[in-house]
């Protein structure tokens, strides 16, 4: 058991098991909808974790890339008659290109300065979506046409459950592949000591940029899925609070843990649903629980629990 939990691919196997098990346990539309939402957010967080948890670079602007994916599948089919799947790929490519162009200069910044620069980037992107009302519908947003593949239309929560679940598994698998490769080792080395990484021949700027671009692609795909799933997109999708939500999910679940990203997304999607029982105190409870999580599980839920388990055995 202990060997299994430490194997790098254990998280992917566990994740696949969960994705397969949920529809066997319930066929309630409401639960499948929630699960699909968790998977979509988790996909963005798994990507953000490559940047923050592994390469150690903060981003407070990832909702910008999320929004690019979302608006790509909204604007492309509506205004340019591009099929949704092609718009999704185009959105991911645009997000990657933007991350590549902006990443070079801003990844030279460190810590708080990088946080502020990425924050600015996110806000800038959200502003474009608000202001270009001819294409985006402005602050009210716009409807999104359903995803169609070979004449089949993805509408039901069950369809989106499987699309997002399988994509999350593939996304997690790719992330683990990367972490266990020379690129992933370079990410982790940069996180712990840029100085040492450099003296071992690692091109630090290149690897920070790679992490930034990859995480932007994850975010854009997740954003496209959310827009297609909701059949609606507004600038809130790309907003500052969404960026903070991603970072919170990554931190609460556990930075540097693939499964942690998924658990963090689950906590932040599920808690508000559960806490509606507290009516007007819902947000107070949410804030309080988040503080308690950080105080008692400071390394994040998954790494802290794994450490506890290891301590017992």
């Amino acid at each position: 058991m202990r060997r299994f939990t430490q194997h790098p691919y254990a998280a992917v196997v566990l994740l696949a098991a969960i994705v397969i098990a949920i529809p066997l346990a319930t066929s309630t539309t409401f639960y499948l909808r929630i699960a699909a939402l968790v998977f979509i957010f988790a996909l963005a967080v798994v990507g953000l974790n490559l940047l923050m948890g592994f390469a150690g670079q903060v981003s407070l602007g990832h909702a910008g890339f999320f929004g690019i994916g979302a608006y790509a599948v909204a604007v492309g089919p509506t205004h340019f008659a591009v099929p949704s799947w092609a718009a999704l790929l185009a959105g991911a490519a645009i997000a990657a290109l933007l991350a590549f162009l902006v990443g070079r200069p801003i990844l030279k910044l460190k810590g708080h300065y990088l946080a502020v620069a990425t924050l600015g980037l996110g806000i800038l992107i959200a502003m474009v979506f608000t202001n270009e009302a001819r294409f985006t519908g402005g602050p009210d947003g716009m409807p999104v046409l359903r995803l169609e593949l070979f004449g089949w239309r993805a509408r039901t929560p069950l369809a989106w459950y499987w699309i997002s679940g399988v994509t999350l598994i593939v996304g997690a698998l790719i992330a683990v592949n990367l972490i266990e490769s020379p690129t992933g080792r370079a990410f982790r080395a940069i996180h712990d000591s840029e100085t040492a990484a450099r003296t071992l021949g690692i091109d630090v700027a290149r690897y920070k940029l790679a992490a930034f671009v990859l995480s932007a692609i994850y975010a854009a795909v997740a954003g496209a899925y959310l827009a297609l799933f909701d059949a609606l997109v507004t600038p809130v999708t790309a907003g500052f609070l969404r960026s903070i939500e991603f970072v919170t999910m990554a931190v609460i679940g556990g930075l540097g843990s693939i499964l942690g990203g998924v658990v963090g997304a689950a906590v932040l999607v599920l808690l508000p649903q559960v806490l509606t029982a507290f009516h007007e105190y819902e947000h107070v409870m949410l804030g309080l629980l988040m503080m308690l999580f950080m105080i008692f599980l400071p390394a994040g839920i998954v790494p802290s629990l794994m450490r506890l388990m290891r301590g017992r055995s």
Partner: protein, 253 residues
Amino acid sequence: MSAIAATDVAIAFGGVAAVDGVSFAVEPGEIFAVIGPNGAGKTSLFNIVAGIYPPARGRVALGADDVTGLAPHLLAQRGLSRTFQNLQIFFRMTAAENVMVGRHLHERRALLPHLFALPSVLRQNRATRQKAEELLAFVGLASFADQPAGTMPYGALKRLEIARALATEPKVLLLDEPAAGCNPVETAEVDAVIQKVAASGVAVVLVEHDMKLVMKISSRIHVLDQGRTLAEGTAAEVRANPEVVKVYLGAHA
């Protein structure tokens, strides 16, 4: 040809000459120590050679290559590696992974195959891991392979840094106070590793305060004082030099 040669290098900070026209050359297999009292310019000289500061004057050559002012990651490509006085370990990684990072320059680095864990990447990972285990055994840390570096004892980390630097297959290894903070047992362990490294044909350059270590293992010693060369020679020659005794050894004896 020397493995590494510095010719007339100089650097000043705020008008104060930290290093002022120092030259030295180290042959493969030699252990070359740079010593001097505090403020003599040891660390500045080390940083020039390691590519941290470009010198204001003079040149640094690795073999036949002029490498003056090259950044650390480019120096690594040309066969120069180093360790740090105040450890720069990858604490979140295991000992083996730390050394595996050192193999970076010898691995295929294209991103796409890494994303899909192609068989060639997995083969390469196994080869890198094996090389890392050999190097850990070389510095006497085989049993630590899968231990997180953050939980290893201090003396072991000193040797882990050497193993990691060796993983780049350097021609020249720079050691910044390899025995700093070590107890006598740990110092003896580091000392044995340094001698093994030199015996394998690597030119070792070290800056060190521990006089016992320097006198015991160095082939030649270069003494700095106020940014200039005071003396250079074997341990016996340096010890017999009255100038050296006056400014440095005298203060410690």
